[in-house]
């Protein structure tokens, strides 16, 4: 495999730096003799995100969707010091000195989380020079990290915040490659650097892709894979190498670091989640077997337009499906997409996440969820509004491994909160205010609280309502 040689070549110059910055030992370190312990920094580009200052705030007389399927009418949400401190009914005591917002006629949800975005990696303007999402030079590039392509000045972050209430997002490499590289979870807060946006202590993901894209991209170059069987073959060969790498690493013997293999070994260790682009049901089933073959777990199938066909299998394997409401027909593997996909999954007991993969629809994930809910209702599956909000908040947080920190309005979690001017499942609703870690980062009534990226400064429409 040509591609495997390529990683070794790329990785070799980095090996010397391996021991210089030791902050964290590999998980299996306890199993190896101390004198052979090879440690390296697993977090060399650490988050420098700091919550912005906020004031203790309570919203009352408001309808609350708590993100975990709960709904409270005429409720109270309050937060202080960046954390949710209380959620309850009208009689919930509000501490003195808390700023009070009347939420009459309005709705509160946790911040919306998009599990599938390319903001920053494919930013607008969508010019060739900004095309940084696919390292389409080898079918397996686990060595690349999406964070190293993130342009923190992407105007799209502000639209996702102001129109979509998005407070966190996973930025993924594209799907040209079978193994596209590491994803990164960001707080949707502008910063001068990528590190300044990075969600503190969020686990990494590995983007993988089934189907048409890898076989087309490499097949058209006369390279493997050019077929679906080629896709799986290359994946399996690579996982075998990753197992060998992990074995050598864990043996305590000397070894040469390989940053691609480190990511794959991280998956086998259970530290890095698999975020797998996969449209067709039959291919998902093969991936599930491949995961068992090599001892890893798939967190989420992305796009997953045929998940409804194997909803029981996905439920039994505890795998989430990140789906659009109704995209279809743009490519052959999207031909059997149906608008009831999410509803059938939910009704079968499988995990549903609504995702965007799109700089426009990330602004309307609430609307996409509402359409999926309505299509379910028409086939007799009545899914409550509160459960549908879970598709946009708690479920993606769980699939990303950050549900202990955000994704629902529970005391102690990050105060990532959206106040909507109506029911967010209505086409007529928009975010009124958005707090991230308790700091007011968007307020529809305050033009100064509408972020403007460097790119848009001094341009037509700077600071416009958008």
């Amino acid at each position: 495999m040509k591609s495997n040689f390529r990683w070794s070549l790329l990785a070799a110059p980095l090996a010397l730096a391996a021991c210089t910055n030791t902050s964290e030992a590999p998980q299996s370190a306890s199993a190896v003799p101390a004198e052979n312990l090879r440690t390296f920094d697993k977090n060399p580009y650490p988050s420098t995100y700091k919550a912005y200052p906020g004031v203790a705030t309570a919203i009352r007389n408001v309808t609350i969707f708590d993100g975990e399927g709960g709904r409270i009418e005429n409720g109270v949400v309050f937060f202080a010091n960046g954390k949710v401190s209380g959620v309850g009914g009208a009689d919930t005591a509000i501490p003195e000195g808390t700023k009070i917002i009347d939420g009459t006629g309005k709705f509160v949800t946790p911040g919306i989380i998009d599990i599938h975005s390319h903001l920053g990696d494919y930013p607008t303007p969508s010019v060739e020079a900004h095309s940084d999402g696919n390292e389409a030079t080898s079918p397996t590039t686990p060595e690349v990290w999406a964070e190293h392509s993130v342009w923190p000045q992407d105007p799209g972050f502000s639209r996702a915040l102001a129109n979509g209430g998005v407070t966190a997002l996973q930025v993924l490499p594209g799907s040209a490659n079978l193994m596209g590289g590491r994803s990164v979870v960001l707080k949707n807060v502008y910063a001068r650097t990528m590190q300044g946006m990075k969600f503190p202590d969020a686990p990494y993901g590995l983007k993988m892709a089934c189907g048409e894209n890898p076989k087309r991209v490499y097949g058209s170059k006369g390279r493997m894979p050019s077929t679906r069987m080629g896709n799986i073959a290359v994946n399996r060969q690579t996982w075998i190498k990753a197992q060998e790498y992990k074995k050598r690493r864990d043996s305590g013997k000397d070894y040469t670091r390989d940053i691609g293999m480190e990511t794959l070994a991280g998956v086998l260790d259970g530290d890095i989640s698999i975020q797998n682009h996969c449209y067709r049901a039959d291919e998902m089933a093969i991936v599930l077997d491949m995961a068992k073959e090599f001892g890893y777990k798939v967190s989420t199938f992305h796009h997953a337009v045929e998940s409804y066909k194997i909803a029981d299998l996905l439920r039994d394997n505890g795998v989430c499906s990140a789906v659009w409401a109704d995209w279809w027909g743009f490519k052959m593997e999207a031909y059997d997409a149906i608008p009831e996909n999410a509803a059938i999954l939910h009704n079968t007991g499988a995990c549903v996440v609504i995702h965007s993969d799109d700089e426009n629809q990330i602004q309307r994930l609430n609307q996409e969820a509402a359409k999926a809910q309505a299509d379910g209702r028409r086939m007799g599956f009545n899914i409550s509004d509160a459960d549908v909000i879970k598709w946009l908040t708690y479920n993606p947080a769980k699939a990303l491994g950050i549900s202990d920190k955000t994704g629902s309005l529970k005391a102690g979690k990050m105060a990532d909160v959206v106040l909507w001017n109506g029911n967010p499942l209505s086409v007529y609703a928009r975010p009124d205010k958005v707090w991230i870690d308790g700091a007011l980062m968007f307020d529809a009534s305050t033009p100064k609280l509408r972020p403007v990226s460097d790119f848009e400064l001094g341009q037509p429409g700077e600071g416009d309502v958008k």
Binding site: T124, P125, S126, V127, P155, G156, R159, N163, E212, Y308, K309, I310, A311, D312, D326, W327, W328, G329, F330, K331, M332, A334, Y335, D336, A337, I338, P339, E340, I344, T348, E359, N360, Q363, R364, Q367, A370, K371, Q373, A374, R378, M379, N421, G422, L425, S426, V427, Y428, A429, R430, A444, S445, P447, F455, E456, Q459, P460, G461, D464, V465, K466
Partner: protein, 430 residues
């Protein structure tokens, strides 16, 4: 073999609807589509495929089939202001994608009409979401003139074209420049030179040796030059629009309609003054290109306030498959009324922007796009506010004929409502 089987199934799925009948739809909230307020408990009467009347006090003809729409909404069908509907089954499968004929060697002469296939599944899918008519345009390739588009209906029958060669479609801005040698200077030069060649052709002076146009292209452009055929121009940036308005002064007979128009608000007064209608993308709000730096969802509302005639269209936005987004987009424009500092449309204006206004802009407002007497009876009954996400069409009538609402997606839904296999494989479940 497989192909034959598929064809047989397709025929069954597209059973011919019953012929036009006299229908009275009563008791619903009737939206005429012309921007006037809904009429509670109104009646819509249809005969011979046309609207006879719609209003609060309409007599029901004897013998009419009565449809009770109490608690429902009754509107004109959605008129998709810009699309590639019927031109592709699967976008990325070349054999099924007829959007661009640019490699044919022709440009302006290309006529999409024969490529609009009413049996393609996007027709059925969008029909069941209440879309009844669509502006269908070719995609450009290699020339600023992409060819002639049509107005189509989404009826379940073999004749989709309502108006053939309804317009010529052209690309300006970045895409046009790419076709014209890489510069907007080339776009304007090509525009003038091609029109001059068309005039030469009319005068019998065309050589067609080294010309930009073939004779067939020249014929098609002549009709544009004389103002017999509208010229729909995709343009996004403010400067491109200003320069086009200068061209319009040079060729005053050309009936220009701008499509896309993300920065229209920046030149809204000029557009209104020039009397150029627009078919605008509703929700563009990102600087996707440098000609869209000023994009905002308030664009449509601001243009409307300035007196521009504005319809909603979906250029290059899932325009072969997702015309069913049209109502959602219109709803979003309504929602802007409740956002401080934003400019939207009222509900009544927004519905007009997806029914009567696009029909008027395309010159067929006297025949299509509303429930006024004499218009084609394209009527949709909805189970709620048609712009709301929870609502669906419960009955779709096109040219007075009630349409089937089933489609391939429904069949898959029904097969997999309970995904686990039963006594036989899913392949036997239908």
């Amino acid at each position: 073999m497989r192909h034959f089987l598929y064809a047989a199934a397709a025929v069954a799925a597209f059973a011919t609807p019953v012929a036009a009948e006299t229908i009275a739809i009563t008791g619903g909230r009737v939206v005429v589509g012309d921007g006037t307020a809904p009429i509670e408990g109104g009646t819509v009467v249809i005969r011979d495929g046309k609207i006879v009347a719609a209003g609060a006090t309409v007599a029901i003809p004897s013998g009419a089939r009565q449809i009770d729409a109490a608690g429902k909404w009754v509107t004109p069908g959605v008129f998709a202001g810009f699309s590639r509907l019927g031109l592709a089954e699967v976008d990325a499968v070349n054999g099924t994608n007829d959007k661009s004929g640019g490699r044919s060697g022709f440009s302006a002469a290309i006529d999409v009409a024969p490529a609009i296939d009413p049996f393609r599944s996007p027709i059925a899918v969008n029909r069941s979401s209440g879309v009844t008519r669509a502006v269908v345009a070719p995609e450009s390739a290699g020339s600023i003139f992409a060819g002639q588009g049509a107005i189509a209906d989404l009826g379940a029958d073999g004749s989709p074209v309502t108006k053939v060669r309804a317009f010529q479609f052209a690309e300006f801005g970045e895409e046009g420049a790419a076709s014209a040698g890489g510069s907007r200077a080339g776009t304007h030069l090509h525009f003038r030179a091609m029109l001059r060649e068309a005039q030469d052709y009319a005068a019998g002076r065309g050589t067609f040796d080294d010309d930009l146009l073939k004779a067939e292209d020249a014929k098609a452009l002549l009709s544009v030059l004389r103002g017999d055929t509208r010229l729909l121009i995709h343009v996004e940036g403010a400067n491109d629009m200003l320069r086009l308005m200068e061209l319009k002064r040079e060729f005053p007979a050309i009936k220009m309609v701008f499509v896309g128009v993300s920065e229209g608000w920046r030149v809204a007064r000029e557009l209104a003054q020039a009397g150029i209608p627009v078919i605008a993308s509703a929700l563009n709000d990102l600087p996707a290109t440098f000609e869209m730096l000023g994009a905002t969802q308030s664009n449509i509302g601001r243009m409307k306030d300035a007196g521009v005639q504005v319809a909603i269209g979906m250029i290059n936005d899932r325009d072969s498959h997702q015309l069913r987004y049209t109502t959602q987009y219109a709803g979003n424009i309504v929602s802007l009324q409740y956002v401080p500092g934003a400019t939207g449309l009222t509900w009544d204006e927004a519905f007009a922007a997806i029914s009567s206004v696009p029909a008027e802009i395309m010159g067929v407002g006297d025949r299509l796009g509303s429930l006024k007497a004499g218009r084609a009876a394209d009527v949709v009954v909805w189970d709620g506010d048609p712009l709301e996400l929870s609502s669906a069409a419960t009955m779709v009538i096109i040219d007075g004929v009630e349409q089937p609402l089933g489609n391939r997606q429904n069949r898959l839904r029904d097969r997999y409502a309970r995904p686990t296999e039963g006594d036989l494989p899913k392949a036997y479940d239908r």
